[in-house]
Amino acid sequence: MMAAPLLQADGLVRHYRLRHGTFGHSAMVRAVDGLSLLLERGETLGLVGESGCGKSTTGRLLIGLERPDAGTINFAGETMPPEGHARWRRLRTRIQMVFQDPLGALNRRLTVGTQIAEPLDIHRLGCKSERAERVNVLLADVGLRPDHAARYPHELSGGQRQRAVLARALATDPDLIVCDEPVSALNVSIQAQVINLLADLKDRRRMAMIFISHDLRVVRQISDRIAVMYLGRIVEEGLSDLVLRDPLHPYSRALVSAVPVPGHRRERTILRGDPPNPAARPSGCAFHPRCPAALPLCAQIVPELRLSRNGTAGRLPHR
């Protein structure tokens, strides 16, 4: 049982068809384009990249909310069943997702307590009194008071709402939580609280986490490993400290150099141009039009993901 990794994704591809106007020709947007990753039990993987690089799509693919057009996902050694399948539904007790906007993720017309108990309700876990008991434990776990259970989402603050969303995600004791930008809708002081809470919870419960964010500071705090995404692909992956201290890929380097460090004036790599349109992906290495280290060859050949020192893998520029 322990032999298989918790989550293994191989060559995931997700395309969206975009049509311009009613009679316009359709274009293919490759939101995720050949993405593979591996997650062990209890491990936290930070998925970073700029907006539109396919982070959130990846998150939805990994928890089975969307079907990949190609590629396979294995969860605990079993393939991900299609959505709506009985096995898929049962799998929901083991995989949970936390969304970016806590107010949107909660139903305005139900109390927080009812919504935290909802996963237990859906999967018929425990009797009524046990569920109420469980809700109280969960509320305490995420730092809410028992009387918060009777409130409605709009009566809570942003941080409290996200805590409530977390409590709901934790209700079934999942093995994996996918957090899609869980703190970017919160202000900075609340962000720190929620991040600490997440770090604390994952240590206590030994659950694995995929943490999707565009904010490197936040990801650094919580991740064991970091994968850097650019235009639907992972360009670099490795232990957090290594990736952040000494990034290999020019894109990761630019990202890392953009994080402000108090008291230091560092040299910044400033990227030229905008992120390319995913419907018209550049040939060869997708990053080459903006890459400070681009060579003519980069426009033709996609660099292989190469292992380098200490197990960090990166799509290195051709040297």
């Binding site: 909310l65 993720a105 139900l110 859906i122 709009h154």
Partner: protein, 292 residues
């Protein structure tokens, strides 16, 4: 109600005055509707005579204001039937039909709208084709056709009027269900493993209920008017049964000699539809308050 005025631009005193005036109107509307409902429930006990009892010696007896006698307070019609008794029974009949038909329409429309939003693909196309068909077909012609083929009975009549306006609920509920599917809470509940029943009944429906209720209050007066219109044409409620529209229709012949037969039912129709519209307007604001 003063808390509503907090976020609005006009001066507070002015707003309060306007709101007070509107609230007063709503209060009167609610009182009127309660009265109508009470009459509908207790109609047979309140009526002084049987609504079909003939009193041939007192045919076209005048309304008490027009110098009539106390025997028939609101006068009598061409067969000497008591107008007061007929009015009370008519209110019951018309409200029954309007409520029944509104509920039928809301139920059928919302159900089909949800089905379209849930299954998409050819199911959605089929339902939308029906919606377009219904919307482009003059309802009177449809009603004529159905009544001509199937004859007339009260349940059929209610079901038929229920068909009026179902396409609006279907469109509204489909659009709202689809847009709420894109919202976080539906996605969140879906990934918790909830089935479609839980998703639509427990989560989507309460969140779009305010719009549907307002649609219902818009449809309700229309159905009363439609019922009146059909009865006026002799296609609706059949004599000796009576309804408001029916009374107006048959009273028309005696408009000059005995206006009381027609005036009061007409007044009741106008006031009731107006009250429901006011109530719907007010409900819309009340139900949207959670948005702020």
């Amino acid at each position: 109600m003063s808390d509503i005025s907090a976020g609005q631009v006009p001066s507070p005193s002015m707003t309060r005055k306007l709101l007070w005036r509107r609230d007063r109107a709503v209060q009167i509307a609610i009182l009127w509707l309660v009265l109508m409902l009470a009459i509908a429930v207790f109609a047979d006990r309140l009526a002084p005579y049987d609504y079909a009892a003939l009193d041939l010696r007192n045919r076209l007896a005048a309304h008490i204001i027009f110098g009539g006698n106390v025997e028939h307070l609101l006068g009598s019609d061409e067969l000497g039937r008591d107008v007061l008794a007929r009015l009370l029974i008519s209110i019951r009949m018309s409200l029954l039909i309007a409520f029944g038909a509104t509920l039928v329409g809301a139920f059928v429309g919302t159900l089909l709208g949800f089905l379209a939003a849930h299954f998409r693909g050819w199911v959605e196309q089929l339902i939308l084709a029906c919606v377009d068909f219904q919307a482009s077909m003059p309802f009177l012609i449809l009603a004529l056709a159905v009544l001509a083929f199937f004859g007339n009975s009260l349940p059929l009549f209610v079901a038929l009027l229920g068909l009026h306006g179902w396409e609006r609920y279907a469109r509204v509920s489909r659009a709202l269900a689809m847009s709420s599917t894109a919202q976080g809470y539906v996605m969140a509940v879906r990934q918790l493993g909830a089935g479609p029943w839980r998703l639509y009944l427990r989560h989507v429906l309460p969140n779009i209920a305010s719009t549907l209720i307002v649609t219902m209050t818009l449809a309700f007066p229309e159905i009363i008017l439609l019922e009146s219109g059909l009865s006026f044409l002799g296609l609706g409620v059949q004599p000796p049964l009576t309804s408001l529209g029916n009374m107006v229709g048959y009273g028309r012949d005696y408009l000059t000699r005995a206006p009381w037969i027609l005036v009061l039912p007409s007044l009741v129709i106008s006031l009731t539809t107006l009250s429901i519209s006011l109530l719907g307007d007010w409900l819309r604001d009340r139900l949207d308050k959670t948005l702020s």
